[in-house]
């Protein structure tokens, strides 16, 4: 056996021996997060009641892949964590007529491996492997990603591109907000603090539609410096309804509607570089990028051009 075998297991001992002794002196145990209370919620009503009691001092714990990091870094100090991971009503991927409804607690790995998503939401299927790393995708949830609204997150851009609807629930009832009206700015959304993302309703994508998803990251799985979720209809050689949603460029996903409109009707034949040039010209005017730690606004604008070129090149190569 190799040397990495724990020394405590040597000598043929197959049984791991633990210290079960209760240690009242917690001072010896390292902790990262500030102290908080914890409730394992067993019903949505319990979550609503606790939110009503504690307000902004309580946080909802879904996959925890961003919240736990923030707590470990002490960027947040709630009094209470309400763990919703046991709420099965918020889980699952189902067909509902011309849409696919994804429960807020559905984990990234489930979307990645879902046959329904692969068939009806190919853009999301393509985006999933780009989200962080396997261990993170095993825990992270779509509801968490959308509620947090990290500017570099993939799923917010996808739901904007696919014109999905976000279903929010609270003690006051439920309401639906269009994804295109949901993301307001940096970590700022239409969601009120007492609301949960219960589900995301995504229209099934027509078979004729083409998709492009790509992002540019310092390391595979890192937060994107720039990303693009794009869809288009191609009839013969002609593009229509080009939808370009950029992420990682500013505080929220950006739907470049003017650029999409300008490119609609363009034929993807002949000199593709000329079409790309025309699209870039509109894009340069429309996009407003913001610098982050790793890239300047100018670099982000450049990366947006690069991604747009790749998208149009892919669409041209795959036409009819």
């Amino acid at each position: 056996m190799p040397s990495m075998v724990s020394w405590r297991l040597r000598g043929g001992a197959q049984r791991v021996r633990y210290r079960y002794v209760h240690q009242p002196n917690w001072g010896k145990i390292p902790v990262k997060a500030p102290p908080f209370a914890y409730v394992r919620a067993t019903s949505l009503d319990q979550v609503f009641d606790l939110k009503a009691q504690h307000g902004d001092d309580a946080r909802i714990l879904a996959g925890g892949q961003s919240l736990m990091a923030m707590l470990n870094l002490r960027l947040d100090a709630p009094e209470l964590l309400i763990d919703i991971n046991g709420l099965d009503a918020l889980k699952g991927i189902d067909e509902d007529g011309d849409a696919v409804v994804i429960g807020g607690l559905t984990r990234h790995v489930e979307l990645e491996r879902s046959a329904l998503v692969a068939t009806h939401l190919p853009l999301i299927a393509e985006a999933m492997p780009n989200i962080a790393h396997p261990a993170i995708r095993n825990r992270g949830t779509i509801g968490g990603s959308i509620a947090l609204a990290d500017p570099a997150a993939e799923l917010p851009a996808c739901v904007v591109a696919l014109d999905a609807e976000i279903k929010l629930v609270s003690g006051a009832g439920e309401r639906t907000v269009k994804a295109r009206e949901f993301f307001h700015g940096l970590y700022d959304t239409a969601r009120n603090d007492d609301e949960l993302v219960a589900a995301v309703r995504v229209p099934k994508s027509p078979v004729s539609r083409r998709y492009f998803f790509s992002e540019i990251t310092p390391r595979r799985g890192d937060f994107a410096s720039a990303g693009l979720a794009a869809t288009v209809e191609i009839d013969g050689d002609t593009m229509s309804d080009l939808t370009l949603v950029f992420f990682g460029l500013a505080g929220r996903p950006i739907l470049a509607a003017r650029t999409g409109d300008a490119a609609s009707g363009a034929a993807l034949t002949g000199d593709i570089d000329q079409i790309i040039g025309q699209v870039h010209a509109v894009l340069d005017e429309e996009l407003e990028t913001q610098a982050d730690l790793h890239s300047s606004a100018k670099m982000k604008s450049h990366l947006a051009r690069v991604l747009t070129k790749r998208a149009l090149t892919q669409f041209a190569a795959g036409r009819s």
């Binding site: 056996m1 190799p2 040397s3 990495m4 075998v5 724990s6 405590r8 297991l9 197959q14 049984r15 791991v16 633990y18 210290r19 079960y20 209760h22 240690q23 917690w26 010896k28 145990i29 390292p30 902790v31 990262k32 997060a33 500030p34 102290p35 908080f36 209370a37 914890y38 409730v39 394992r40 714990l61 925890g64 892949q65 736990m68 990091a69 707590l71 470990n72 870094l73 009094e79 209470l80 964590l81 763990d83 991971n85 790995v109 492997p129 962080a132 790393h133 396997p134 261990a135 993170i136 095993n138 825990r139 390391r219 595979r220 799985g221």
Partner: protein, 163 residues
């Protein structure tokens, strides 16, 4: 409100029942309370992968999961998968290829690679790289690690031999 909580779970096949502070991370619980120090603590915010453990059969970040959350769950650590022999061939390949240099990332790498071996037995080098992208090796011994995983994948296809 109570800042401690009771958990009862199965760790490497053994039942464990403990009172834990709500804010205690799973990896700290495993290391400090159960003395399972094979899982390492690196960045503590989900970036490095040194704390990778299995929760109900799938790998998770031990630093982004609370001990409080594993009530009723099954946990496996590097000690557990070593004891069962599940990753013996992978560990042998790591040794043969000198894929463990300082060894700090190794338990996390093995836990991640073990999942790849089951979810994608046909993985090529690019897919191995992709799958292990969430595990940092600061000795930068990546080529050897990928070699070791590749060898193990090939060995399992050929009926279990890694040599």
């Amino acid at each position: 409100m109570d800042e401690t909580t009771v958990i009862s779970c199965t760790v490497n096949g053994e039942a464990v029942e403990e009172i834990v502070p709500a804010r205690l991370n799973l990896v700290d619980f495993l290391r400090e309370k159960l003395d399972l120090t094979g899982s390492h603590v690196g960045c503590e915010h989900g970036v490095c992968g040194a704390c990778t453990v299995r929760l109900d059969g799938v790998i998770v970040r031990g630093c982004l999961t609370l001990a409080a959350q594993v009530n009723g769950a099954t946990i496996e650590t590097i000690e557990g998968v070593t004891a069962t022999g599940e990753v013996a061939d992978l560990q042998e390949a790591f040794l043969a290829r000198n894929a463990a240099q300082c060894g700090f990332c190794t338990p996390g790498m093995v836990m991640s690679a073990a999942e790849l071996l089951t979810v994608n037995p046909d993985a090529g080098r690019a897919e191995i790289r992709d799958f292990l992208s969430g595990n940092y090796c600061r000795c930068t011994g990546y080529q050897a690690i990928i070699d070791a995983v590749e060898t193990t994948l090939a060995g399992r296809k050929n009926g279990g031999s890694t040599t």
